[in-house]
């Protein structure tokens, strides 16, 4: 529940930034990319759709995507994402609580986009 709320808030912030945040708008440019954040059990998740300057979002963990951040559980996802640091993500990955499916560069790109709105 907490994770779903966090992802929803993130989607609002990204959508708003695509309209108003100049640095963010420049950063996302005309990229078309689908990034999924989900838990390993498939119970929680949200798809973030970047489409030539606009951002939209759909609830759910079973969408097709270019890359996915897959968390071991929603509690870990919530804690680490709330911290928002590279070190926290690194420690989670090292502990086997976070994996990336698809091209990791897209996830790095997404994380850098998120940093611009936080």
């Amino acid at each position: 529940m907490r994770l779903s709320l966090l992802l929803f808030i993130l989607s609002l912030k990204l959508r708003d930034a695509a309209l108003r945040n100049r640095a963010f708008k420049n950063y996302i440019g005309t990229v078309r990319l689908n990034i999924l954040i989900r838990t390993r059990d498939g119970k929680s998740g949200r798809l973030f759709v970047f489409d030539k300057g606009s951002v939209s979002s759909v609830k759910g963990a079973n969408h097709a995507c270019d890359a996915a951040l897959v968390w071991s559980d929603s509690g870990t996802a919530f804690t680490v994402m709330l911290k928002g640091t590279d070190e926290a993500s690194f420690q989670a990955a090292a502990a086997g609580k976070l994996t990336v499916e698809g091209m990791s560069y897209y996830i790095q790109w997404f994380n850098d986009a998120v940093k611009l709105v936080m």
């Binding site: 440019g29 090292a94 990791s104």
Partner: protein, 556 residues
Amino acid sequence: MTQILGGHLVGKYLKEIEKVDTVFCISGGHIESILDSFTEYEIRTVDVRHEQAAAMMAHAWSVYAGTPGVCLVTAGPGFTNAVTGIANAYLDNAPLVVLSGKHPLRDDLKGALQEMNQIDVIKSITKWAATCYETKRIPEYLSMAFRHAVSGRPGPVFLELPPDILNVRVPLAQVPMSARPTRKFTVHPDDWDLRQAADIINNARRPLFIGGSGVGLSCCSAALGQFIDRTGIPFILTNCGRGELPDSHPLSLWDVGNVGIQLGMMQADVVIAAGLRFNWLLQSGAIIPPATKVVRIDIDPHEIDRNRTADAGLVGDASSVLGQLVPLLKRGEHSAWTRDLRAASRAFLTSELELREKPSNPIHPIRLVAQIQKFVGEDAIYVIDGGDTCYFGLTGFSSREKAGVMATAAGLLGCLGTGIPFAMAAKLARPDKKVLLLNGDGSFGFNSMEFDTMVRRNIPVVCVVNNDQAWGMIKHSQELSIGAERLQCCELGVRPYEKMVEGLGGYGELVTRDEEIVPALKRAFDSGKPACINVITDPTVTSPATPLFYQSLKMD
């Protein structure tokens, strides 16, 4: 009194003083007497089909043979054709000696054949460029050329020799000849700087060592091995430095490739960078967080604080500096940090690691590379040329050999077309090793006529074309930037490159399915001929290098 032709002084000096046994060239009227000197002094010539390949092969010779590479080009277009190879060597710091013909001084400014101001063209991409005006001074000029090529930070040098001095005879007794080959000097850092660097390294909790071409040029396997054994620091070696310690070393991070570099540099508390420039591939140093301490080792003092102020800077040859540093270092143990770094990197590489093991149709380039590696093994030299192809090859190949995995197009010049010349030079320098070239289909076009050279000179390189039917990196960048519906000048279509090689007398085979890869490789190596396996791969696949490339050119 014994007389000698000016051109013969070139061969005599190269063979007797510098012990040069191979020269890369194309024939030309202006340089005829030099070519004849190679017969006289029994120097092997490798005559190519375009001077660009001659320059690139000589550059590669310096990498694989460990001695300066020499190329000989004729005046005018022979010279201009070589310029790309010379520029590439300049940005790669390779000790390349370029000897060039020149229009006759007698006819200067008269509109002589192939008359042009070569020196002004070449000055900005060489360490040293000169014209020799007197026959008796030819050995002296050659000695200067070699000295400049290898001293300090190595680089290409250029010497032009006009017919006025090459085609006349002088008494041999009146020609001063050096008594010995060019010496290589080393520079030592200040003791205080050494102690400061040792202090930083001794107190590091999450250190990372990253070595570049300077590590390879200094041949520092022994010193680097001692440094790594003593400190227990995980490391990654890139460019010509790769292979100074084997990729399979327990502390090497090549099993997690570029992701390991990225994560390691972002999470380390100390980065020790040796013989490595902080260029665009490392975001000009910005990839390293501000709080991270940086120890730089470089033979060029100007590199120490370039793009990132170093906390300790050690000027000198990497081997010499590491040798001096080791006695000041405490025995270290960083196994937990190394394990975390490797595990986190693997977590980010889940999909790539799965792709290696899973048959794919259409063939995924990652799978192609994995199958090649499985068949060819670590006792081989891998050369990679292309855009996306470089990423797939660099992360998927591993070797025990010095400079055993080189993405020749991934240097600062981003010079496509280098793969074929480098692979040829690798096979000539180390004929006992298998040489496998992975070439993008775009870059294959630049020097593919050199398969004729391979056939004539019996240089059995096996080239696998990763054929995505496009200039893939550009195509996928355009998809990101201007849209897939507006692609421009980036699609190539399916072309039978294997038949072209067959037509020249080599071995060729087309591969379209996963299960055909390994049998085709076996037949290619068994043929004993220069070979081309044209593998049709998935044209939709993008490597992480493409978005990195795309982002680097964004201006807003």
